[in-house]
Amino acid sequence: MVDVEKLKKIARETISRDDVRCLIGWRQGSYGFRAAPHFVGKPEEADQLIFSPLCSHNLATYLTLAEKLPVPRGQEPDTRKVALLVKGCDSRAVVQQLVEQGIRRENVLVIGCPCRGVVDQKKVEAKYPDMGAAVTADWGEKTVIFNLPSGRVEAPREEVLAGKCMTCRYPNPLLADIEAGDAVAVWGSDEYTDVREMEAGDPRQRWLFWEEKFSSCIRCYSCRNVCPMCYCEDCILDRLNPGWVWRSANTSENTAFQLARAFHLAGRCIECGECERVCPVDIPLMKLNRKLTKEVREKFAFEPGTDPESKPLQASYRPDDKADFIL
């Protein structure tokens, strides 16, 4: 478990180091069951840090999202480290970014926070509608405790935790320079039931399901921008020449967009579930990405973000790759 006071102490020490530029963690949100990414520049700002079931953001995306401003002549670029609080799934994103040289190991300082599951905003808001001002939360034995305005409540974790936490096999960070707490038990198991259930239908049924979802997409690209693995300098979707996908929001372009993103994540998606969490129109994106993570596991015995020395899946091959569909 992670003791938040110890975490704050670690954060204060870390941010005081002169080779650390900033520390990224979470703070209590501005209303209801929200938390927000918290950028600590000075030791005193570490007091607002929290680590609770509300901390669903995968902060690894900020390692590759931050723009590199032009360095004024005569100045040196700021190469100080960025310290990052990571849960188990987040740490896989850091590992995969290292594998793909999206970041360099010496530029990031990882503070591992073993995690016992984060809440699903929609489930919690449906269960406790009268949330009002900020609600703090904490983990119970197999439950999650919420301090509502109307008092303390405890809900069984299955009712409030995000889907990805039910199938989580990596609650303990795979990579950490500093451990903020001791390891927790792994209780999730992953049979890809959501994917197998979809595979069971026939193509027509599957298309009806996805057509309804993709046609409701408003192309806000939050699923792309939140993803720690989507860090192209100039995404093909934003390009006009060649215009891979047109910008009009209709079933054809939206499907092409979602297929392009899902495919670009094959062998790279570390199932942090952020895309599904942030989608304003609630498209079940994990149900789409997990199809490929299942295939990649079954066909190539490959799990992205688990081994810093591994070669990216789509940049390597094995002479004996199985492919029985080739004429």
Partner: protein, 337 residues
């Protein structure tokens, strides 16, 4: 204009009576609620505090054909005339937002597409009885029961709706209502007034907005923007879901030898929005873009049209993936020296 009382069980008949119009109402599209043409009265959902996608999508659709053409010749074929319509279940804040956006689409150029729809489509409002946690309409000149921008205001009582026509379009609609509703008694009016008052008390998000438009220019290089934008993902949620956002991009699409010029929502939070062909970008990072979003609504728009381009609907707060809260930003602007 007299006020009608429509029993809830007669609601479906009321919708049927609007047969002459193309009817839009909040419905489940995919997994979220937005305004869509009504094909089955049973699917209309009025319970939610507000739709995910605002009714701007009816007047200013996400993708809209400006005109069609064929390669090789220069005739332009604009889309067919729009038909008369009614959009029902619009919250007062969204209706007010549409009036604010009208300013822009009839500013130096009258936008034919938008204004035609505004003329042809009546707006039937639904007063807010249960404002959501992030509503702050009272702080920006709005009200859970304001009638601005509405042709007819509905207020939900226990077992009926009060329908109060406000404009001639509203009046025309109420004639259709007359067949299925009866006149409202004073008791109903008091009940409605009580509900409106209760709704006002339920709004707990408040911020002092006066003085902000004058203060913003001075905060151009304030650290506030960098601190806020640090966690911003640069996605399009806050702009696409904002009822007063009206920016668009124009592109051509060609299939074979047939083409069309179309307009689609764009967002100032996207990097490409201000990317010049030369590669220069006047707003290169999320700091400038966050600053711009707030300044546009609370400074530039005010200078031009003397109204804050924000109606306090709270969508940008509820749907922001990283909980960037405009009320918090405004509070910090207010407190900044």
């Amino acid at each position: 204009m007299d006020i009608f009382k429509l029993r809830k069980d007669k609601f479906a008949d009321f919708l049927a009576s609007l047969g002459g119009y193309k009817l839009f109402a909040p419905q489940k599209v995919g997994e979220s609620i937005r305004f869509a043409p009504v094909t089955d009265a049973g699917k209309v959902e009025l319970a939610l505090a507000n739709t995910t996608v605002p009714p701007k999508s009816i007047f200013f659709p996400q993708t809209e054909t400006l005109y069609r053409y064929a390669l090789g010749n220069t005739e332009m074929h604009p889309p067919a005339e729009g038909e008369a319509g009614v959009v029902l279940g619009v919250r007062p804040c969204d209706a007010r937002a549409q009036v604010i956006v009208d300013n822009l689409f009839s500013w130096d150029v009258d936008d034919p597409y938008y204004l035609e729809r505004r003329k042809k489509i009546a707006v039937v409002g639904l007063a807010c009885n249960k404002p959501c946690v992030n509503c702050f309409c009272l702080s920006v000149g709005g009200d859970p029961a304001s009638t601005e921008g509405l042709d007819l205001l509905m207020t939900e009582l226990d077992d009926a709706y009060l329908l109060q026509p406000l404009t001639e379009k509203g009046e025309k609609l109420s004639q259709a209502v007359a067949a299925v509703a009866e006149a409202a008694e004073t008791g109903d009016l008091d009940e409605a007034e009580k509900l409106h008052r209760q709704a006002r008390e339920k709004i707990n998000r408040k911020v002092e907005t006066d003085g902000i438009p004058q203060k913003l220019p001075g905060l151009w290089d304030d650290a506030l923007w960098q601190n806020t934008a640090a966690s911003c993902l640069g996605c399009g949620i806050c702009t696409f879901l904002c009822p007063t956002c009206h920016c668009f991009d124009i592109q051509d699409e060609v299939e074979g030898i047939d083409g069309r010029r179309c307009r689609m929502w764009d967002s100032c939070m996207f990097k490409e929005y201000t990317l010049h062909a030369s590669g220069h970008n006047p707003r290169p990072t999320r700091r400038e873009r966050t600053r711009n979003r707030i300044n546009h609504k609370y400074n530039y728009f005010v200078q031009k049209f003397d109204v804050i381009a924000c109606v306090g609907c709270g969508r940008c707060i509820s749907f922001c993936p990283v909980n960037i809260d405009i009320v918090e930003i405004l509070r910090q602007v207010k407190e900044a020296r």
